[in-house]
Amino acid sequence: MTVYLIATLTLVALAALAGLALNLQWGMGGLVNFGLFGFYMLGAYIAGLLTVQGLPPLVALGVAMLGVAALSAVSALISVRLSEDYLAIVTLGFAECLRLVISYEGWLTRGMLGVSGIERPFQAWWPRGWGDTGFLLLALLAVLIVYTVLQALARSPFGRLVRATRDDPGVVEALGKSVLAVRVRVFAIGGAILGLAGSLHAFYYSYIDPTQFGPIITAYAFMAVVVGGRGSNRGVVASAFTLIFLLEGSRFLIDLVPGLGASELAAIRLFLVGVGLVVLLIFKPDGFGREPRSALADKTSSRF
């Protein structure tokens, strides 16, 4: 049971990181990233391949974060001048192409065989049998750092600027700020977090192949942000926790409902994720969390 709990909590940490990244990009910035899983996969592959080449895991992780941030910025540059629909489809296209390249360019990525034997950072530190716990602590530390940085960012002038570009880009332009620059930076920071999440994924499983990454990772992240409340980092972490425990817990339903195979159960779970997304958007569009407001906004809103 403890083993299971540790494994599930590690998944929570991975989902929380992806959710936090999307919360910055979509929740705060209004930029729809449907290709989230592609950036996550890229992070996993950069970290995995470099580690297997003999680079220290932490260096590989840093390179993965920078690499994904750079590519995120490029993909945002292509489309952020247009409306959001285009950004969604460009990021999705990017992710799909990336998956194709990784699947077929075997000389670089080992194709469908996958990359195995990826070493975790600080593995030698933990006593025998405590490796997973140690890794969990590392992942939770990563979540904590990202959360702190994002909270600080949300309260900073830059955070206000990001929310302003989401709510009314026209006003931001009129005030002499470059909407394009803000959006590219938001996408790059989000990309760095996704690179981190992907690297931790690669370290955790120590084996990656293209089939592990699919649009469902994107769907979970969107679910986390919608449930947690767009813009609320605390809400997103809490909802990632709830979501993963619900999804993992539903595996036990197999024993309770006779005649239900693993693939049927997976289909039901994902069906509920899809339906849940729509239902929440209709009935609880602001989610259960609350976006941090500036003191000024609180003052003006309390008057009404």
Partner: protein, 286 residues
């Protein structure tokens, strides 16, 4: 060379119907329906039930399936999209992702992941000189052109077509003139549902019927619609043909499994140079 041209035109026609449907719904509803790929798989599976499980001939199953899925498309709009109508394009976009996941997993639940094929007689391809044309390709050619002609006639010459164009052009003005937006929206979903089901059948004939089939068509369909200028339905057809030809001719220099990368490059080049589409007018002002 001639063979590539024929294959390219057929590939383009295969994209034409869903691209037309996507752009039709976009022009009236102002949101990009990300679930169009799942709609395609769903339609294909409904027809599969009629054709293989119930033993109907394919044309009858396709007709019944198209009618049924058209109603389902209207139903999905009622349940999922209508309550969000005033919430802006991004919310609807995310909602359509939810719809896509839900639909795809309904299919997986009932039909599993294994690929299936329609019950049609196998026939030898026809030859015209150097060029081979198999029966599936001929079916695609005839069906798509017929469907396009019907949609064009509706769009151009009927009262419904005028109403659709009016709502697409200016919903408020159309409402003032007594055109019920929700009725036009329902008709648009009916037409889109039928077109997408037909294309699902054609894709299933061309390849296999499997849960992933719509997903692989999602990016090309969006690219084709953007090529045409996304809010201009008939130009989406031209966009689809252009993309089909581009994909086919790119196989001369790139491996076949990188088709989607060709599509992506076409989209990126287009968005950088002419974001309002090859044939569209300049409406993107952002």
């Amino acid at each position: 060379m001639g063979q590539l041209l024929v294959n390219g035109i057929v590939a383009g026609l295969l994209l034409a119907l869903p691209a037309l449907a996507l752009s039709l719904t976009f022009s009236v509803l102002r949101f990009a329906n990300y679930a169009v790929g799942s709609y395609l798989s769903c339609g294909a599976y409904l027809v599969y039930i009629g054709n293989v499980v119930l033993g109907m001939p394919l044309w009858l199953a396709a007709g019944a399936g198209a009618a049924l899925f058209a109603l389902i498309a209207v139903g999905i709009d009622w349940l999922a999209y209508r309550p969000l109508r005033n919430r802006g394009g991004v919310t609807l976009l995310v909602a359509s992702m939810g719809v896509a996941i839900a639909l795809e997993n309904v299919i997986r639940f009932f039909a599993g992941n294994s690929p299936r094929a329609y019950n049609v007689p196998v026939a030898r391809p026809m030859r015209f000189g150097d060029i081979r044309l198999n029966h599936e390709q001929l079916t695609i050619l005839v069906t798509v052109i017929a469907a396009l002609a019907v949609v064009w006639i509706i769009f151009r010459f009927t009262r419904l077509g005028r109403m659709m164009r009016a709502v697409a052009d200016n919903p408020d003005l159309a409402a003032v003139r007594g055109i019920s937006r929700s009725r036009v929206v329902a008709y648009v979903w009916l037409i889109a549902g039928m077109l997408i089901t037909l294309s699902g059948v054609l894709v299933g004939l061309d390849a296999n019927v499997e849960p992933q089939m719509g997903w692989t068509y999602l990016l090309p369909v969006f690219t084709a619609a953007i090529l045409g200028g996304i809010s201009n339905p008939m130009a989406a057809v031209a966009g689809a043909l252009t993309l089909g030809l581009a994909e086919e001719f790119a196989t001369l220099v790139m491996p076949v499994h990188y088709r989607m990368i060709v599509t992506f490059l076409v989209m990126v080049a287009l968005l950088l140079v002419r974001p309002w589409g090859l044939f569209g007018t300049r409406w993107v002002t952002k």
